[in-house]
């Protein structure tokens, strides 16, 4: 313990104390009164003097015309001339040295994702989410059950360094799986428990830490009460995506120079993919490395495919490029480069696509799709071109890639946006089809994209108002529709903001099947029911009237039990904004949906009884016996 640690620890001090310390002190007011009268007299005398004497004339007050001679109020603190500070340049290759520079950047690329914080960079909605399907294979869970045994990540205060997965039988904790890496998500497949965690030093990723990376621990559940570790994989880089499909685990990590220019290590040779299996390095030869486009940064995505049965690394590929987003499905993945303004040049996005064998299947150059210059030089002070596409989601169905995004057209007065959808068939006679649609609002943001088999539901929003749009796909043909139905805007439900929350924010939609969706509504807090089976006339069958039990809020997890029953996680209102929280404060609640006979209305009901969250997997809920309400 030293002063540095103490000073650093103050980071977590209560915001109320910070606010209180910034309030104007009472004592200052006394001083003001003491000198205020005198100052007022002085001002009055000065004003009279100024009015009587023409400015700039003989004997008038002369002000310096040199701005540097008279510091303005907005100049902020002045740097001490006696203590010049030389900033290490290698650490700040692309910081924003002025507010204007930052605004120019944002104008070009509205949503900047800071990849330095890889811990926070999660892939956007990825893959296809079939109606009612359990998407745990995509994002993992914090609780899974196997043969009556429940395994759960207990989200305690990470500073206690309690790295373990708790094992429950009949609601009682019977053991733990101790870990040396904080667990982030659990996957379950073929009698195997897979725990994924980030290996880093503390609250923030220590980018200089040698074993900084992502850890995958595989346990055999032959005896469900006593999981036995069989394999440990460690891959360098921040966790970008992980999914389990057909007994295979896919892991994608991102490493390298971040978008803000901070380098993890000084030596570029260290920016090479590294994978270790049970402590032994797995060779990563040159043939498992590719370069996408003409990267401006040393940055790569490392993709590994591991056979969970015997721990074999089936395939791996490291793709160097200006990669900003990763999208994936069961047997494919796509890497999207960022739109960027770097060192007097700009570039637009490209979508690089790969199949399950990690073979490159083609690229969708967004500049070519929209007839724009993909890259270009910028003179000093010149802003980047005002029009550019911004990819928001990628998926693949029947060998055809689908891309949805915003086409941004900036202007000095704000500009407009259009919704766009692209179908890309690398092997087809007409490889690329694109449709654009202007929505009723000029500036909107795509909040979420839900992939169905032949359709995409796009949740958009501006301010507090949300709206739905639809992209219908048939082969490479696209039809875009803007729904007239407006709703409360939902970009994700605030849960316990906990470091490394395994599931992140909940998606606004909970698919029930047959075109029915529950959708979160924040005002009042509850769940609305939508019938989206007909894109041309989406209907709201039920609107929440504040159904959440008093004093509670929805947390970030939900589980579809069947087409009319959903388990949602609730958190006490008082803890909803707490950065840290013990999982025990949450409960699972049951929501049932009852459609009326004509299918034009419905009732959405929260069950009276709630289930404790600890040691309880919602899929095991007994709906017929009363909960013990522990």
């Amino acid at each position: 313990m030293n002063g540095t640690k103490l000073l650093d620890s103050l980071e977590y001090i209560s915001p109320a104390l910070i606010e209180a310390a910034d309030e104007p002190p009472m004592r200052q007011r006394v001083i003001w009164f003491k000198w205020g009268g005198l100052a007022a007299c002085l001002c009055a005398i000065t004003a009279v003097f100024a009015l009587r004497t023409p400015q700039g004339g003989p004997g008038g007050l002369v002000f310096s015309t040199n701005p540097s001679a008279s510091p303005s109020v907005s100049d902020g603190p002045q740097e001490s001339a006696s203590q010049p500070v030389d900033r290490p340049q290698e650490l700040t290759s692309d910081t924003y040295s002025s507010l204007e520079e930052l605004l120019i950047y944002l104008r070009f690329h509205e949503v900047h994702r800071n990849d330095q914080d890889n811990a926070a960079s999660r892939p956007k909605l990825t893959g296809k989410e079939g109606a009612g399907a359990d998407s745990a294979w995509q994002a993992g869970r914090d609780v899974v059950s196997y043969e009556g045994t429940v395994y759960q990540i207990i989200k305690g205060d990470p500073l206690y360094n309690e790295h373990y997965v708790a094992i429950f039988r009949d609601g009682a904790e019977t053991g733990r799986v101790d870990l040396d890496t904080p667990p982030e998500a659990l996957y379950l497949t073929d009698g195997k428990l897979i725990v994924v965690g980030r290996r880093q030093g503390g609250m923030e990723p220590d980018l200089e830490q040698k074993d900084y990376g992502t850890a995958v621990m595989v346990y055999d559940l032959s005896d469900p009460r006593k999981p036995v570790q069989t394999d440990v994989f460690h891959q360098r880089g921040g966790w970008a995506a992980c999914w389990v499909s057909s007994g295979r685990l896919w892991l994608v990590t991102l490493d390298g120079v971040c978008a803000c220019g901070y380098s993890r290590l000084a030596d570029l040779d260290d920016y090479k993919p590294r994978l270790a299996h049970n402590g032994e390095a797995v060779p990563w030869p040159e043939e498992d490395i590719c370069i996408l486009g003409e990267p401006t940064q040393v940055k790569y995505a490392a993709v590994s495919c591991i056979d969970l049965e015997d721990g074999t690394v089936l395939r791996k590929l490291a793709c160097y490029g200006d990669i900003s987003d990763v999208y994936f499905g069961e047997d494919w993945f796509a890497l999207v480069t960022q739109s960027a303004v770097e060192g007097g040049a700009y570039s637009l996005q490209t979508v690089y696509t790969f199949d399950g064998g990690m073979s490159f299947t083609g690229k969708c150059d967004m500049a070519a799709v929209f007839g724009l210059e993909g890259t270009g030089k910028l003179a000093k002070g010149e802003a980047a071109p005002p029009e550019y596409p911004d990819v928001k989601a990628v998926a693949r169905a029947d060998g055809i890639w689908r891309v949805v995004g915003e086409y941004v057209q900036n202007s000095k007065t704000g500009g407009t946006k259009e919704l766009f959808a692209v179908a890309y068939d690398p092997d087809g006679p007409r490889p690329i089809t694109m449709e654009r649609l202007r929505l009723p609002v000029e500036r909107f943001t795509i909040d979420d994209v839900l992939w169905e088999e032949d359709r995409t539901v796009i949740s958009t929003g501006t301010g507090q108002t949300g709206a739905l749009a639809f992209a219908e796909f048939s082969g490479t043909d696209i039809s875009l529709l803007a729904g007239e139905l407006t709703c409360d805007r939902v970009q994700g439900v605030d849960g316990i903001y906990w470091y490394g929350s395994p599931l992140g924010h909940i998606k606004p939609f909970i698919p029930l099947g047959n075109g029915l969706y529950l959708r979160y509504n924040g005002t009042p807090d509850g769940l609305d029911l939508y019938d989206l089976s007909d894109s041309a006339s989406p209907k709201c069958l039920y609107q929440s009237s504040g159904d959440i039990p008093e004093g509670a809020r929805l947390d970030f997890d939900s589980r579809v039990i069947d087409e009319s029953t959903v388990a949602v996680k609730l958190i006490p209102q008082a803890r909803a904004n707490s950065y840290y929280g013990r999982e025990e404060v949450c409960t699972w609640a049951i929501v049932t949906v009852d459609l009326d006979s004509e299918g034009t209305g419905a009732a959405v009901r929260f069950w009276d009884r709630q289930f404790p969250v600890t040691g309880t997997d919602p899929t095991d809920f007994n709906f017929f016996e009363p909960s013990d309400n522990r």
Binding site: Y12, P77, S97, L103, D157, L159, H505
Partner: protein, 185 residues
């Protein structure tokens, strides 16, 4: 413009949000960063990076209070920059002096050796601050959170610089005693 209106601008992805944020809290943020870095250029960059961090965080975050949220980002970025800089030079900013003062407060590194986690320490410090009169609490926060110099704290509170220095010295002693009583030292 009040904080909620600024947050609405962020939610609407309006650049005006950053201008309003800068207009309302820019001076405070610059001051906070400058007190740590003692470099106007670095402070400017840290504050702008903090604005970008805020832009990235909202949505989904709706920080309340906005001031504390922003200041924490500024402080974190500034401390990161400070630590990076310190490898190349010994800093002369008030942050370094504040650090040295707190080193005295926790004089025996061997006794703790990292056993106490930061979070617990914060709880203890918050408990300690609860025991202080409001005025002394502000002195502590201004000096060790905002990294204000004793002169700046004095100007803010209307106390003399000497008085601030003496009070802070007593607070540090009290803190040390408080931590010793709880087995931290």
């Amino acid at each position: 413009m009040d904080d909620s209106a600024i947050i609405e601008l962020f939610l609407a992805r309006s650049e005006q949000a950053i201008r309003e944020l800068d207009g309302k809290y820019g001076k405070l943020c610059h001051s906070l960063s400058y007190n740590i870095l003692h470099s106007r250029q670095d402070a400017e960059e840290c504050v702008n990076d903090a604005y970008l961090g805020t832009w990235d965080a909202i949505p989904p975050a709706r920080p309340n209070p906005l001031l504390a949220f922003l200041c924490k980002i500024v402080r974190n970025l500034s401390l990161m920059r400070y630590h990076a800089d310190r490898t190349a030079k010994r800093g002369g900013g008030s942050c370094a002096v504040a650090l040295e003062e707190l080193e005295d407060c926790l004089a025996s590194p061997r006794t703790v050796e990292g056993d106490l986690e930061e979070r617990e320490l914060v709880r203890l410090i918050e408990g300690f601050l609860d025991t202080l009169p409001p005025e002394n609490r502000v002195l502590f926060m201004r000096r060790y959170w905002f990294s204000d110099s004793c002169g700046e704290v004095a100007a803010r509170t209307g106390l003399s610089e000497k008085n601030v220095s003496v009070r802070l010295s007593r607070i540090r002693k009290q803190l040390r005693h408080y931590l010793e009583e709880r087995g931290v030292m």
